[in-house]
């Protein structure tokens, strides 16, 4: 199912609970009653069209945003992406780390597995943090700058236009899930089972969830942010040619 502005927010969660973290990131707490998306968004001063698009991207992998991308400001998109970054960095990843820390094996020999998995996950974490930091330092400020240039109809120099970033960002938008896939495979196929299987299962659940969430996040960057900024770059080129 897809949602629109008139869908009840409670129905959204009942049908697709995987969108809960997104609703939380928008700062909407539970207890919606029978309010629909539009009413809730008005209450929390969120752009209802943007909210609808984001939720749909999260609940349906094949969904392609319908509304004109031009309608949302780059700032709206980036504010949301930054909230997700914070969620990964401050909550999701530390939570998995904590779970890994509580894994246990019976023999002291097998306890070594813990440090193996811990170190592996730490490497992954550093990779993700680096990736997020790159976007926060380079890509997002660039996107905001481009939007400002367009709003002010600033004419750019040839040289500045040659430094447009979006095409190369799109090409290199790298896959930060590779190590997560490896970790899943290692745990499912090769790691001797932990003695607290329930915790091991939770680790795997959380990894699957994080992977899915990161995928959705990347889809928002690829289907909402990148096309929008590319459109701005194109407009800026046109202004320049006039």
């Amino acid at each position: 199912m897809l949602i629109n502005k008139y869908t009840k927010l409670s129905d959204v969660i009942l049908a697709r609970y995987n969108c809960m973290p997104v609703i939380l990131r928008f700062g909407i707490p539970f207890g919606f009653g029978d309010k629909n998306v539009e009413e809730i968004c008005r209450q929390y001063q969120i752009d209802a069209d943007f909210f609808t698009e984001i939720i749909n991207v999260f609940i349906d992998e094949d969904y392609f945003p319908q509304t004109h991308l031009q309608e949302f400001s780059v700032k709206t998109i980036i504010d949301f992406l930054l909230k997700s970054h914070r969620d990964y960095r401050d909550r999701k990843i530390p939570y998995i780390e904590k779970l890994i820390e509580s894994l246990e094996w019976k023999s002291p020999e097998a306890q070594k597995n813990k440090s193996l998995i811990k170190n592996f996950f730490r490497e992954y974490k550093n990779e993700v943090i680096e990736h997020l930091a790159f976007e926060e330092k380079e890509i997002y400020p660039y996107a905001l700058r481009m939007e400002e240039f367009l709003q002010k109809k600033i004419q750019l120099k040839e040289e500045e236009i040659s430094k447009f970033l979006m095409n190369s960002y799109e090409e290199q938008h790298d896959d930060i899930e590779e190590k997560l896939l490896d970790l899943k495979n290692i745990m499912i196929k090769y790691l001797p089972p932990a003695s607290n299987l329930d915790v091991e299962q939770m680790v795997l659940f959380e990894i699957f969830r994080l992977e899915k969430d990161l995928n959705n996040h990347a889809r928002i960057e690829e289907k909402v942010l990148i096309p929008k900024v590319k459109w701005i770059e194109k407009q800026l080129k046109t202004i320049n040619n006039l």
């Binding site: 592996f120 970790l183 290692i186």
Partner: protein, 199 residues
């Protein structure tokens, strides 16, 4: 077991979704692309290397020799035709399977399962056991050696090193060097002390 890759060439969205639903119910089947006629078929086939191509009989009217083109585009590809209700087509014999659009779901699933079984029996069952040479390469990967260094140490070409690495990744389903290192330690191919000595 690697999945059997299906390419669906079908203009109608409704029929495409229907095929998708059926493929979803088959084990070992993977739908790669639901393409339209408008895209260049040969390019898509080149890119995704499907084992089975499913398409609508209407495509035959547009391009009567389509099966020759498809067979030529990929060796041993199985062609599945979706035909109108109770229709008998002249060139049915060129297809590996013809599905009547009015067939029951269970019937279609049975026919496609037979096709998948046939394809699977032709596949060489691959074990995840690494060969001795692959183990040699894996140990060196875990120790952080470059392809060139490994080639020199094992007296093989870098090209061979790379192909060993590809096979290791495929067999273990682990891509990153860090992940391969964990695998090597878990399987006692390399000790942590050895690693610590390097760093």
């Amino acid at each position: 077991m690697t999945n059997i890759r299906f390419l669906v060439v079908e203009k109608s969205f409704i029929i495409r979704q229907g095929i998708k639903t059926i493929l979803h119910d088959l084990s070992n089947a993977e739908l790669i692309e639901a393409a339209d006629y408008s895209s260049s078929l040969e390019n898509i086939i080149e890119q995704i290397r499907p084992s089975v191509i499913i398409f609508n009989h209407k495509l035959l009217k547009q391009q009567p020799d389509i099966y020759q083109i498809l067979k030529a585009a990929k060796e041993n590809v199985k062609l599945v035709l979706i035909k109108g209700p109770n229709k008998k087509l002249d060139n049915e014999k060129f297809f590996d399977l013809c599905i009547d659009i009015d067939s029951a779901k269970s019937q279609i699933i049975k026919e496609l399962n037979d096709l998948i079984e046939e394809l699977k029996s032709n596949q060489i069952e691959e074990t995840s056991d690494l060969s001795d040479r692959e183990i040699d390469v894996l140990k060196l990967v875990a120790k952080g050696k470059s392809n060139k260094e490994m080639a020199d140490m094992l007296f093989i070409s870098t090209h061979t090193v790379i192909s060993h690495r590809k096979n290791i990744i495929r067999k273990l389903n682990i891509k990153s060097v860090a992940g391969l290192t964990v695998y090597a330690i878990l399987n006692r191919l390399i000790s942590e002390d050895e690693l610590n000595n390097i760093s």
